[in-house]
Amino acid sequence: MEAQALQYFIAAVTAAGFGIAIAAFGCGIAQGLGLRSAVEGIARNPESSGKVTVTMLIGLAMIESLCIYALVISLILIYAAPMTGTVTKLLGH
């Protein structure tokens, strides 16, 4: 039972780490693309910088929320997994 719990916990932690890594990878690319276009737009037309900045910030936060979803899932995997209690007892010895 304990070995099984430990194995499950290791799997959950690995999945959480890889999940957030992949999510951050995609979000990094997406935010970079958005930021690039916004900067190009401002460079071409400096008067529009106010509106572009507001739109960009909102868009970036929307993209970031995708990464945040992955973070929530990772946190659930680590902190709310059913075996966590058993494993913490195991590691406490």
């Binding site: 909102i58 936060a61 929307m62 929320s65 945040i68 973070l71 946190l75």
Partner: protein, 229 residues
């Protein structure tokens, strides 16, 4: 993860409600936020004059700025639901920004608080839709052609429920992640003020997340007000 020291939880312990306060700190801090909003509102509106004093000026600037931004999106006919949306923005923003004060806990870092806000927005969207279109509101869900109903209807229904999920999880995840990072950095290198840069970032996160919640709910309301196409 229990917070090391929460000011208002200690306060409730003194009254004798410590058990409740330890189990639900987000409820306590939600009450604190509500109390602050009510007190500021009461003080601000006590002596309204045509020539505003300093305090009234600040409040007027905030409220009119929010209202103008909302009316830009919804058009003039959407002005009547500004009290709800404005309250949601102020409440979420104050909850978020409160997490930066030591000894305070952002109430929005708990899924229950954000979910309650999202459900209110979700229900109010359909109330607006029914109020503006009556029984024809169903056309928003059925798509343009009658034989496409079996395809469009499930997608639309799932989409409407996904709104609740995305609104609540976005806010909760951001604030929770922020709190977690602060705690971890504090335990790693709190003596060297390691959490400070993240706290500066937290001001931005608090404002932007509250703003996004506000803007998305405005857009949902607008969509419910418009005619289906």
């Amino acid at each position: 993860m229990e917070h090391p020291f929460l000011f208002f939880v200690k306060f409730f312990e003194l009254i004798g409600l410590g058990h409740f306060a330890h189990a639900y700190p987000h409820v306590i801090y939600s009450w604190v936020t509500i109390a602050i909003l009510i007190i500021v509102g009461a003080i601000g509106t006590k002596s309204i004059s045509l020539i505003p004093n300093k305090f009234q000026n600040v409040l007027e600037l905030a409220v009119s700025g929010l209202e103008e931004f909302m009316v830009d999106i919804t058009g003039d006919e959407g002005r009547w639901f500004f009290p709800l949306i404005g309250t949601i923005f102020l409440y979420i923003f104050l909850c978020n920004i409160m997490g930066l004060i030591p000894g305070f806990f952002p109430a929005t870092a708990n899924l229950n608080t954000t979910l309650s806000c999202a459900i209110v927005v979700f229900l109010f969207t359909h109330i607006i839709g029914i109020r503006y279109h009556g029984i024809k509101y169903i056309k928003h869900f059925t798509g343009p052609i009658w034989w496409m109903i079996p395809i469009i209807l499930p997608i639309e229904v799932i989409g409407h429920f996904a709104r609740v999920l995305s609104l609540s999880f976005r806010l909760f995840g951001n604030l929770m992640g922020h709190e977690l990072v602060l705690t971890i950095l504090f335990f790693l290198a709190g003596a060297f003020f390691a959490p400070l840069p993240i706290m500066v970032l937290g001001i931005l996160v608090a404002l932007i997340q509250a703003f996004i919640f506000y803007m998305l709910s405005t857009m949902y309301f607008t969509e419910a007000m418009e005619h289906s196409h």
